[in-house]
């Protein structure tokens, strides 16, 4: 991979008394949907937060689009990269349109005018994520799946080329899981965005993502295409559990515990 979007070298993350990430070297490709998988406590979310600059790393370097991530100003970084936390906070008294409009902050800043470009971006984002129908409803009155799409719309309104999502489907039913992941996949493939998604469900990761990075106890377990992941020995290596891979009629693979 020559055009790595993220170039990570010797990355370590420490919290008082413990090392969460032990010297990772990793290149993440751009214009693809990348899954970050691993068992609980494997530090996959920590890695994502480092990429989002939500937590600082203690050693090593991370470069984004050729520049160290610490070199970007806050708004500059937010114009290129949008982050969705694992638990989206309650948006007390806020309408969907207002929430989506918050995504324009990196562009207009604290004092800039909310101009035609901003309106167009908000409308476009709401249309893309299918939340136009709720535009004037309160975010907190929507269902989980609808709310998740609103937060996605806010990220889209940010017009960032890279989306980081921390377990975006963990609270959704299976239909909404497919809906949200299909939406993210469409964004990557149709608009040339990059999405890095922390996922728990290995089958969802294999089905929707182009590239999979597996973490294990703060170290890199493996990375490659979904086909490389969906092998019994690879899965056992990642999850420490014997796994079986079933072949579906259409050639897709499904992993189940053996």
């Amino acid at each position: 991979m020559t055009d790595a979007l993220f170039r990570i070298r010797g990355l370590c993350v420490d919290v008082p008394g413990r090392r969460l990430i032990h010297g990772i070297d990793l290149d993440l490709p751009g214009r693809q949907m990348v899954a970050l998988i691993g068992h609980n406590g494997s530090s996959k979310s920590t890695l994502l937060k480092v990429l989002a600059r939500q937590i600082a790393h203690s050693a090593g370097s991370v470069a984004f689009a050729g520049r160290a991530i610490t070199d970007y100003s806050a708004r500059d970084y937010a114009r290129r990269l949008a982050f969705m936390p694992q638990t989206t906070p309650p948006a007390e008294g806020m309408t969907v349109r207002e929430l989506v409009a918050l995504g324009r902050y990196p562009w207009h800043g604290a004092l800039g005018r909310f101009g035609p470009d901003d309106h167009a971006a908000v409308d476009g984002a709401m249309a893309e994520c299918g939340v136009v129908a709720f535009a004037d409803q309160l975010v907190d009155t929507l269902s989980g799946g609808e709310r998740q799409r609103c937060w996605l719309a806010m990220m889209v309104a940010q017009q960032a080329g890279t989306l980081l999502l921390d377990e975006p489907i963990s609270a959704l039913d299976i239909a909404h899981q497919v809906e949200v992941l299909s939406l993210v996949r469409r964004m990557c493939h149709d608009q040339g965005r990059t999405a890095i998604v922390v996922l728990h469900e290995v089958n969802m990761a294999a089905r929707f993502c182009d590239h999979v990075v597996a973490m294990k106890a703060g170290r890199l377990a493996l990375q490659g295409s979904p086909d490389e992941l969906m092998r019994p020995e690879a899965l056992e290596h990642v999850y420490g559990l014997p796994m079986q891979v079933l072949l579906r009629g259409d050639g897709g693979r499904v992993a189940v515990p053996a």
């Binding site: 948006a91 007390e92 207009h108």
Partner: protein, 657 residues
């Protein structure tokens, strides 16, 4: 019992014993009376020892244990590390009952202060629980309701005292929490209460541990959550009411003991419930020992309750970074979704019109010795220059405080945040008091400067916490509460000295606009306007920040700078207003809350609405303060809380989820 507690507690116990012995030997070097005590055969120093110092040492232990247990129960049941007996309004209720009985019907006190104070405390706690019961005792609701009740009660109590044109020094000392004893009756009563409550707490330990999973989790395990919360609160209320009745307000022991217990490694509910009373007893004993050591043989210099606050404040600030994670206030939906107006502009215009109309009408109407009077045109023109400056000043101060509150509530995403809670007012009042003592006959400008410096110092301390990116908002609040409590303790210590300065502090504490001049009013109005413009300019920060640090950083908000800037803004507004109306007004808590409750949701509407409501509240309070106790003038800040708090309580009672 944790290992650290096993090492620490005996050392502290020895220290407490030494301090008590120091006082005892100073009183009577030898020849201690033998058990059983018979006053007939004893000398005066022996009687003083047997019926003064000995019960005093005992009551410090018993009362401290009671407060520690009460605080531990309340913190467990409210799942809120800032909860303590005073947050339920118990002390406020007791104080109001006692003041009312003393002034209006002294005969009620015939059987001691106990029954009267207990009735007041029980009524206040009952009111808070009636509000809480409508929401299945959701923690945030309980704390807000408790603070409102406490504030209203203390405002009414002070208003009653001042409207009679006399100050009751003994009540001031009682407020400070004096441990002086005349016999063993207090110890016996408190020990009996503590014993019963201890059994109750032991029975509650396991249900409370289940409750620490959260209301939904506990319900899933088959627990009657509302009944269990009620039981725990009742035990805690009885304990705190008993201490309030015997000794007055002794702050911080109930707050510090469970926090200290946790920092010593108490992890399970049983450990916290067992350790907290022990720690509380030792904390109060050491404090009382220090008061006695300082006072020497001559007598009381200041009440012990004041010292617990002085020690407790810094202790809590020191503890903050070491405190383990806890349920942040507000995670449990306390108030349900707020309403949202479709046309906020109309409501804002209406509020602005109301503010103007209120100002006009209130200048026009006055009270004469014979009755009420509406001024004719000539008197109106004569009175206008006299009344306008104070109206402008009151309105501007109200708006400034409300702005500070709105900014802080949005910054911390916590409906409890306000300049009063964040310690800015407390720091300002310490600055005022320090100026009084350090400068001979200070003028208004010097006092104003000192007040602002004090507020700034408190801000720097609190901002130090806010600056750290991973510091959750509730810790910042806790730091502010610590500063406020320290200030309150210092001020009650000053007031208990009864010196000339102390009366000036008391007068300023309650706030008055009677001495304000046109220039000062103009300055204050300009400052309020400046703060409003600044808050509207950063409305986008205020819109994003309630969503939390992750989202705010995610959209590229300069988090550190924004927090520091907003805190400085709130500090300037509070400092300016506090010089005029004193630290006691709760306009900064009420006005933003009311603005949100009537449906002003967007940041700019919320900020503007809060400022208008704050101005209306203070203008109305100014009128009420002039009229209600005529010809005496009541304190402005007190009157503001008299107006706003009942309204807020009514709103909370009315709303359902």
């Amino acid at each position: 019992m944790t290992r650290r507690a096993i090492f620490t507690l005996p050392v502290v116990a020895v220290l407490a014993l030494c301090l008590w012995l120091l006082a005892a030997f100073r009183l009577l070097p030898g020849d201690w009376p033998a058990w059983p005590f018979d006053p007939g055969t004893m000398s005066v120093p022996q009687i003083l020892l047997a019926f003064g110092l000995m019960p005093r040492g005992a009551i410090a232990l018993v009362a401290g244990a009671a407060l520690g247990l009460s605080g531990a129960l309340l913190q467990a049941v409210l799942r809120n590390p800032v909860a303590d007996p005073t947050t339920l309004g118990i002390s406020g209720g007791a104080q109001l009952a006692l003041v009312a009985a003393t002034i209006l019907s002294p005969g009620l006190l015939e059987h001691g202060r106990w029954p009267v104070a207990l009735v007041g405390a029980g009524l206040a706690a009952g009111l808070v629980m009636a509000i809480g019961a409508r929401r299945a005792f959701a923690p945030v609701t309980m704390v807000i309701a408790g603070m409102m009740v406490a504030m209203t009660a203390s405002a009414i109590a002070t208003a009653i005292t001042l409207s009679r044109g006399k100050y009751l020094l003994s009540l001031v000392i009682w407020n400070g929490g004096s441990l002086v004893q005349q016999d063993w009756s207090g110890v016996r009563v408190l020990a009996a209460v503590l014993g019963c409550a201890g059994i109750g707490a032991a029975l509650l330990a396991r249900p409370l541990r289940v409750l620490s999973l959260g209301a939904v989790g506990a319900q899933g395990l088959g627990m009657n959550v509302a009944a269990m919360r009620l039981a725990a609160v009742v035990v805690a209320v009885v304990l705190a009411a008993a201490v309030s009745a015997e000794l007055g307000l002794i702050g911080f022991v109930g707050l510090a003991a469970p926090a200290l217990a946790r920092s010593m490694g108490a992890r399970t509910m049983a450990q916290v419930l067992a350790l907290s009373p022990m720690i509380g007893a030792l904390v109060l004993s050491v404090c009382d020992g220090m008061v006695m050591a300082l006072a020497g043989a001559t007598g009381e210099m200041f009440p012990t309750g004041a010292l617990t606050g002085l020690i407790g404040g810094p202790l809590l600030i020191w503890l903050l970074p070491r405190l383990r994670g806890s349920t942040p206030p507000g995670t449990e939906a306390g108030e349900g979704p707020g309403v949202r107006l479709a046309h906020p502009g109309r409501v804002l215009a209406g509020l602005a019109a109301l503010a103007l109309a209120a100002a006009l009408v209130l200048v026009w109407v006055g009270r004469l010795p014979g009755g009420w009077a509406v001024l004719d045109w000539d008197s109106f023109r004569a009175f206008l220059p006299l009344r306008l400056p104070r109206l402008v000043a009151a309105g501007a101060a109200g708006a400034a405080l409300a702005l500070a509150g709105a900014v802080l509530q949005r910054l911390t995403a916590n409906p409890l945040a306000s300049p009063e809670v964040l310690g800015v007012s407390g720091g300002a009042s310490m600055g005022y008091a320090a100026t009084l003592y350090l400068v001979t006959a200070p003028g208004q400008a010097v006092l104003g400067l000192g007040t602002m410096l004090g507020g700034m110092a408190a801000l720097v301390l609190v901002a130090n916490y806010a600056r750290r990116r991973d510091m959750p908002a509730e810790r910042v609040l806790l730091a502010g509460v610590a500063v406020s409590a320290m200030a309150a303790a210092l001020l009650s210590a000053i007031m208990a000295t009864g010196s000339a300065q102390s009366w000036q502090v008391l007068a300023w504490l309650s706030g008055s606009s009677s001495t304000i001049g046109a220039a000062q009013a103009g300055t204050l109005a300009a400052m309020a306007l400046g703060v409003l413009v600044a808050a509207l300019l950063v409305r986008r920060w205020l819109q994003v920040l309630p969503l939390g640090a992750e989202v705010a950083a995610g959209v590229g908000l300069p988090l550190v700078g924004a927090r520091l800037g907003l805190i400085a803004l709130a500090g300037i507004a509070t400092g300016a207003a506090t010089v005029l109306i004193g630290p006691l007004s709760f306009v900064g808590l009420m006005a933003p809350h009311l603005a949100r409750r009537i449906g002003l949701a967007r940041a700019q509407d919320h900020v503007l609405g809060a400022a208008l409501i704050g101005a209306i509240l203070m203008i109305a309070a100014d009128f009420g303060a002039r009229m209600a106790g005529f010809p005496y003038e009541l304190p402005l800040g007190l009157f503001a809380s008299l107006l706003g708090a009942p309204w807020l309580i009514w709103l909370m009672m009315r709303m359902r989820r």
